[in-house]
């Protein structure tokens, strides 16, 4: 590193100015801004919120929502209540209770899934860590209410949103997820088919063996009786 390669005077090099020139320059800039604000959009970029709204980027993220396949959130929820998001959530605003049947066996779906959006800081880590493509970040931002507990703690009923909503909100991401899931499904199906075929073959083999054994036994018995 070489020090102080060359010098450069500030402003207009070595020129004498009369006092007051800088003030006039400032007045010129502010005056220009005032006049141009009347006819240049760039000089008056205010968006008057309730009447007009800014374009939201497709990437914009706000509070999370849960995705479900099909028409009914009761059946189609992708969430398996694994609790990874609950663990990774930095402000710990997610609360999950696994749904269990009467024997205490996990049903692999949440009974309670609450997100306290007054604590949530919209970081999107839950969406990132979810291995089941279940939780995504919403783009809705008009959430102001007058009740901190009833209305700002979102339960399953308000969190669950259909895949169509996701598709509408973030087409690119949703399509990618769809394709990934379809591929996984097909793979699973293929795997299941293969497994079924294998099982069938095994069963057939077993059956054949059993038959042979039976025949052999029968033969033996026959021979024995002879």
């Amino acid at each position: 590193m070489k020090d102080a390669k060359h010098q450069e005077p500030a402003g207009k090099a070595g020129k004498w100015t009369i006092p007051g020139y800088g003030l006039l320059q400032g007045l010129f800039v502010s005056g220009r801004n005032m006049v141009e604000s009347y006819y240049k959009k760039e000089r008056c970029p205010v968006i008057q919120y309730p009447e007009e709204k800014a374009d939201i980027s497709p990437n914009f993220r706000n509070f999370p929502f849960l995705c479900y396949d099909g028409d009914r959130p009761e059946t189609g929820l992708r969430c398996t209540a694994c609790g990874i998001c609950e663990k990774e959530c930095p402000p710990q605003c997610i609360y999950i209770v696994m749904d269990r049947d009467e024997n205490g066996k996990a049903k692999k779906r949440p009974k309670v899934f609450d997100i306290d959006i007054s604590v949530c800081m919209n970081c999107g880590i839950c969406a990132e860590v979810c291995p089941f493509d279940s939780i995504y970040m919403d783009g809705q931002y008009e959430m102001a209410t007058d009740d901190r507990f009833e209305k700002l703690v979102l339960g399953l009923d308000r969190l669950a949103k259909s895949t169509d909503y996701h598709m509408q909100l973030r087409p690119k991401e949703a399509t990618a997820v769809m394709e990934k899931r379809k591929a996984a499904e097909e793979k699973k199906k293929a795997a299941a088919a293969a497994r079924a075929a294998k099982a069938k073959a095994a069963a057939e083999k077993k059956a054949k063996e059993a038959k042979e054994q039976a025949e052999k036994n029968a033969d033996d018995a026959k021979g024995g009786t002879e």
């Binding site: 070489k2 020090d3 005077p9 402003g11 020129k15 009369i18 003030l23 801004n33 005032m34 205010v46």
Partner: protein, 411 residues
């Protein structure tokens, strides 16, 4: 035309006479009722005062909106536009808000003085507005010593600010009050000295006569306002700068410097007392600008002979609007100066220039007597330019970044 037994003159209805119309009407009505002469003139005074207060209160409301709108536009915003059409009802909304707010008096405050502060700040401004000639023959109170009266009541605002700051019993208001006193007292001097040059030239302390002395046009189109003479230019610039300081406007709004001492003398005020400070400040702004217009910008005189047909008070208010706009523009642009710089600027810069404008005016007077404009200009211009040359040299030696600063670049 006689109506009843008292004269009703049709001339009262001429546009030129509009500001006096209420006074005329009231006087006529009172006279019509057969009341004695002294009562007629008292009724006339009260109406006249009512018109002044009413007009300037209306202008205050308008200005509080226009100021916010202008500042907003300079800052690339729209400004208030929710209350009424283009936010025209914003002053009303502000007023309602101010009136309904809780009036807090700090425990350590002297409650009587705390109450008196904001009241005292409004009264002198209204009094000062009374002696200004708004039109050719409309001076609410035509005092022979109008200028002296103006400065006398103008000095009262300082006391009011100090009372407010001291009575709050708190630290920031105290600092603000001390700043206000030192600032206003030192800026009173250049203000008065530069006004003195005008008095010297026109030979009178009566404001209507000062305006009349600025009538007429050089070469048929250049108005003979005091600003367009060498001595008037330097005195006018000094007066304008001192005006800003007297009115506590940016860049000399140190008494309420909100980034340093919160709100200065207004820190402990809320509700309508706070609003009164604003009213006082704006009325003071109107008064001091009106005085500046009277002294240097030809009062109600029209700028071009072809516009002489317009009523004179219209010209006065047009000039007032321009001056106030310049105040707003400056406020939107400049940062605040520091207290020591402010004082140094007044004593080392403004007062010498103001003093220099007195001999300049004298030279101009005698050269003009010889009826030779060119000689007068040549004789006076050096005196006007000397301060600027000195300032330029000092500025470039000491402060100007172009000549005092270099920046290096390391690879």
């Amino acid at each position: 035309m006689m109506l009843g037994n008292v004269e009703f003159e049709m001339a009262w209805l001429a546009p030129e006479q509009w500001p006096r119309l209420p006074q005329h009407l009231v006087e006529w009505l009172v006279a019509l009722c057969g009341l004695p002469e002294w009562l007629v003139s008292i009724a006339g005074w009260f109406t006249s005062a009512g018109v002044v207060v009413g007009v300037f209160m209306g202008l205050f409301a308008l200005l509080s909106l226009i100021e916010r709108k202008t500042l907003a536009r300079v800052q690339n915003r729209y400004g208030p536009n929710r209350a009424g059409w283009f936010g025209i009802l914003q002053p009303v909304a502000d007023g309602i808000k101010m009136l309904t707010k809780e009036d807090i008096v700090p425990a350590k405050a002297d409650w009587l003085l705390h109450l008196l502060g904001p009241v005292l700040i409004v009264i002198p401004s209204i009094l000062a507005l009374g002696v200004i000639p708004y039109g050719q023959d409309w001076v609410p109170v035509p005092l022979e010593l109008g200028l002296v009266f103006f400065f006398a009541v103008g000095a009262m605002t300082e006391i009011a600010v100090f009372v407010a700051g001291w009575a709050s019993g708190s630290k920031f208001p105290m600092l603000g009050a001390m700043r206000a006193i030192s600032q206003m007292v030192s800026y009173e001097l250049p203000l008065i000295i530069s006004a003195l040059a005008v008095v010297m030239m026109s030979g009178t302390l009566s404001l209507p006569e000062i305006v009349e002395s600025q009538g007429g046009y050089t070469l048929g189109f250049l108005p003979q306002w005091n600003l367009f003479t060498p001595w008037g230019l330097s005195a006018g610039v000094v007066f304008f700068i001192a005006c800003i300081a007297e009115a506590n406007r940016c860049p000399f709004d140190l008494p309420e410097g909100e980034s340093e001492i919160v709100a200065g003398h207004m820190t402990e005020y809320s509700g309508f007392k706070y609003a009164l400070f604003f009213i006082g400040e704006y009325l003071g702004l109107f008064a001091i600008s009106a005085l500046g217009i009277t002294l240097f910008l030809g009062g109600w005189q029209s700028p071009l002979p072809i516009f002489d047909f317009l009523p004179s008070w219209l010209w006065f208010f047009a000039k007032l609007a321009v001056v106030i706009f310049i105040f707003l523009w400056i406020r939107a642009t400049f940062p605040r100066v520091r207290i020591d710089q402010l004082m140094r600027f007044a004593w080392l810069c403004l007062i010498p220039i103001a003093l220099l404008s007195l001999p300049t005016a004298a030279i101009w007077h005698y050269a003009n007597k010889a009826n030779n404009d060119i000689v007068a200009w040549i004789a006076t211009m050096p005196l006007v330019l000397i301060p600027w040359v000195v300032l330029t040299v000092l500025f470039n030696r000491r402060l100007s970044p172009a000549t005092t600063r270099t920046y290096h670049f390391a690879e």
